[in-house]
């Protein structure tokens, strides 16, 4: 009898040991993003290793790919309820995913973790709840070719629209195939509307929205910026091929010294330097309307982060978000990404070591991040619809009033 009791006790002990081990098993977080391939090899994995060391029992499996592939896979995951636990997000996608119920409410996760959100530079909210946090930001200031400026006799970078128009005219030398400005309006990648067109509105403190709805008609902020660009187009100071030009073509034109000025992401500084080490260029703020002395909105694109609603490990997922947003880690990440931090207390290394980035950081600190497309429904489609009407207007087939009325009508159909 005693023998059976001992066997029973041993069996129980074994069951408890195995059961305990099962209960305390590791949580594996899937983290789908396009960031890892864009960072130096092994750099992002090293940060994940640091997270795993700080959080025993949590393993991070990185699912990495190019931007467009990642987007398609996240869209598919959202449709089928199989989204990775943590996902890299672009602000243009957020509204659609929230409408589908694919993203977890980060406000609730922050509250549950008693997280102080005052350190966050920005939060993308819908209906009062946060669904995306920008981890690092790539701002879009104006790049100026200093050699072309000097050759054209321009002493200082333009600070107002009038100065910009004058500079663009002076820089343009069609005989030598040099133009003042470059405007990418490809319908394949319509982000030129956000970065190169609407940025003029935001730089003067304007807005294309009112009470959460599109406000393009009878909006002086928008119409003055559009008329300004039309003036540049009619003056022939914009590089040819604008209607099918993409962002990478724009950078190529500037890098090869065929364009005097462009609005572009800071992320391309190193690319430009690699492609053309001789190019002498500087960074400056986007010009504003005459007499405007308020803070200038600076267009930006973010590496945003969100948590999947279908995740079974939302608590652990939040720990990863919190880790990436902590001042120290955010400094490291923004330094290796050549981006501006999502934590207000972070200062990336390159600001002290690189004068171009230092100038850009000053522009960043004196202005404010502005991208009104972030969080809007079908944001990319809004840009494309605006783009089509804008091309008609530039081509002279539509009046300013008709263009803005048509764009407004097209946009409103997505807000009903």
């Amino acid at each position: 009898m005693r023998k059976y009791a001992v066997v029973l006790l041993m069996t129980l002990a074994l069951l408890i040991a195995v059961g305990g081990a099962v209960l305390a098993q590791d949580v594996t977080l899937e983290f789908q993003q396009w960031w890892e391939p864009e960072l130096p090899e092994g750099a992002f994995r090293a940060l994940m290793d640091e997270f795993e060391a700080q959080n025993p029992g949590i393993t991070v499996e990185l699912i990495s790919g190019p931007y467009s592939t990642t987007r398609d896979q996240i869209v598919a995951g959202a449709a089928t309820g199989t989204m990775a636990d943590v996902v890299g997000l672009d602000g243009a996608w957020v509204n659609d995913f929230v409408q589908q119920g694919s993203l977890a409410d980060l406000s609730a996760l922050m509250s549950a973790a008693m997280f102080d959100d005052s350190e966050l530079a920005a939060q993308i909210q819908l209906n009062g709840s946060t669904y995306m946090i920008p981890v690092v930001n790539f701002v879009y200031p104006v790049f100026v070719n200093l050699d072309l400026m000097e050759a054209a006799g321009i002493e200082a970078a333009p600070m107002t629209r009038a100065e910009f128009a004058d500079a663009a005219a002076q820089l343009t030398d069609t005989a030598n195939n040099v133009y003042g400005w470059v405007l990418p309006l490809s319908l394949e990648q319509p982000n030129g509307i956000q970065n190169d067109v609407m940025s003029w509105v935001w730089a003067s403190g304007g807005s294309m929205m009112a009470d959460g709805l599109p406000n393009l008609v009878d909006n002086e902020d928008v119409s003055s910026a559009i008329e300004f660009i039309k003036g540049l187009y009619d003056a022939g100071v914009i590089a040819p091929g604008a209607f099918t030009m993409r962002e990478q073509d724009k950078v190529e034109e500037f890098t090869n010294g065929r364009v005097g000025m462009m609005v572009d992401s800071l992320a391309h500084i190193n690319l430009i330097r690699e492609r053309n080490p001789e190019l002498n260029f500087a960074i400056t703020a986007l010009p504003a309307t005459e007499g405007y002395d308020g803070p200038r909105g600076l267009p930006y694109a973010s590496w945003g982060i969100g948590v999947a609603e279908n995740s079974e490990h939302q608590e652990e997922a939040w720990k990863l978000v919190e880790f990436l947003m902590s001042a120290d880690i955010n400094t490291q990440l923004s330094s290796i990404a050549n981006a501006f931090p999502g934590n207000v207390n972070s200062t990336p290394d390159f600001v002290e070591t690189d004068e171009l980035f230092a100038a850009a950081f000053e522009v960043f600190q004196t202005g404010y991040l502005a991208n009104e497309f972030t969080g809007l429904p079908v944001a990319e489609n809004l840009m494309r619809e605006f783009d089509e009407e804008f091309q008609l207007y530039l081509d002279g087939d539509s009046s300013l009033e008709d263009f803005l009325a048509n764009a407004q009508e097209a946009w409103m159909s997505h807000f009903e």
């Binding site: 040819p240 604008a242 209607f243 099918t244 030009m245 034109e253 990319e380 494309r384 091309q391 087939d397």
Partner: protein, 291 residues
């Protein structure tokens, strides 16, 4: 009774594959085209009958995409035929020695070796306002200012059609070359005895002998070209201002940019109907030629 099922048992793997790869996807897309709120909404799909079809068929943008697609397909088929047949006849000429023929065969077939993405990148670079084509036109005094081949509304559709013709003629060339080599020499000799000229031999011997290949290739090419997406998307994105919008790009934008999966399914069904229409002629032609 048991014997009756044996043929079906043999056919079952094929029937299963056809069902999984063809019937189920088509049936699903057809179902989506009759519904609203499908795939990525939290609300349940609702049956809307033919209203998606009415909406799509009365949409000016769709009709323009349809016109552009038909233009691309018809002009491409004609261009492919003319270029393919010309090059095939050159390669079939008896006056050329085998080494010259081999070299030209490699050169002529090159466009077919590239994928659509490579072709799009290549021609974007060549036709860029600062590209090689404009440079050559500039130094030869053919143009004073750069021509916007892909960014001009007047030129873009013709330009992408030209690129599509360039990319696709080698398939015709190879097929016609095989056809030409299969024409019995007796027919040409008999024609010559009857006093037929070179043009008459081409008209009354070569073309009738190639007719089955011409019809089959033309129909298949028409169907393939209506599905062309990568080349258009990567060169113009459907622009400028919808000048090169095709049914394929229109459908893609509806699905992945507007999230209008019901309407995208509807346009997909219209494309299917268009392809089926041509496919029926193709099958009938194949049946007649085999009889």
């Amino acid at each position: 009774m048991k014997k009756q099922f044996i043929p079906f048992a043999y056919l079952s793997p094929t029937l299963f594959l056809i069902a999984v790869l063809s019937f189920i996807p088509i049936a699903t897309v057809f179902y989506y085209s009759l519904m609203d709120n499908v795939i990525i909404t939290r609300t349940d799909p609702t049956f809307v009958g033919l209203s998606n079809y009415i909406e799509i068929l009365s949409d000016d943008k769709f009709l323009q995409a349809l016109r552009n697609t038909l233009f691309l397909a018809i002009v491409s088929v004609i261009g492919h035929f003319l270029l393919g047949l010309s090059f095939a006849m050159l390669l079939n000429a008896k006056t050329l020695n085998p080494i010259t023929k081999a070299i030209f065969r490699v050169i002529y077939i090159l466009p077919w070796v590239f994928t659509a993405s490579i072709i799009a990148i290549l021609w974007r670079l060549l036709l860029n306002p600062n590209g090689a084509v404009n440079y050559l036109m500039s130094i030869s005094r053919l143009a004073d200012s750069p021509t916007e081949w892909l960014s001009s509304r007047d030129l873009a559709l013709n330009t992408v059609t030209f690129i599509n013709i360039w990319a696709g003629y080698p398939f015709y060339m190879v097929s016609f070359l095989a056809g030409l080599q299969g024409i019995p020499n007796d027919l040409y000799e008999a024609g010559k005895v009857d006093g037929a000229s070179g043009v008459q031999l081409f008209r009354f011997v070569t073309l009738p002998q190639l007719k089955p290949i011409i019809i089959s290739l033309g129909m298949l090419d028409f169907i393939w070209t209506t599905h062309q997406f990568t080349l258009i998307w990567m060169t113009t994105g459907g622009g400028p201002i919808r000048a090169t919008e095709m049914l394929s790009t229109f459908t893609y934008k509806l699905a992945f940019s507007s999230n209008e999966f019901s309407l995208a399914s509807t346009t997909a069904m219209v494309i299917l109907a268009l392809s089926l229409f041509v496919a029926i002629f193709y099958v009938r032609n194949q049946r007649l030629s085999s009889e």
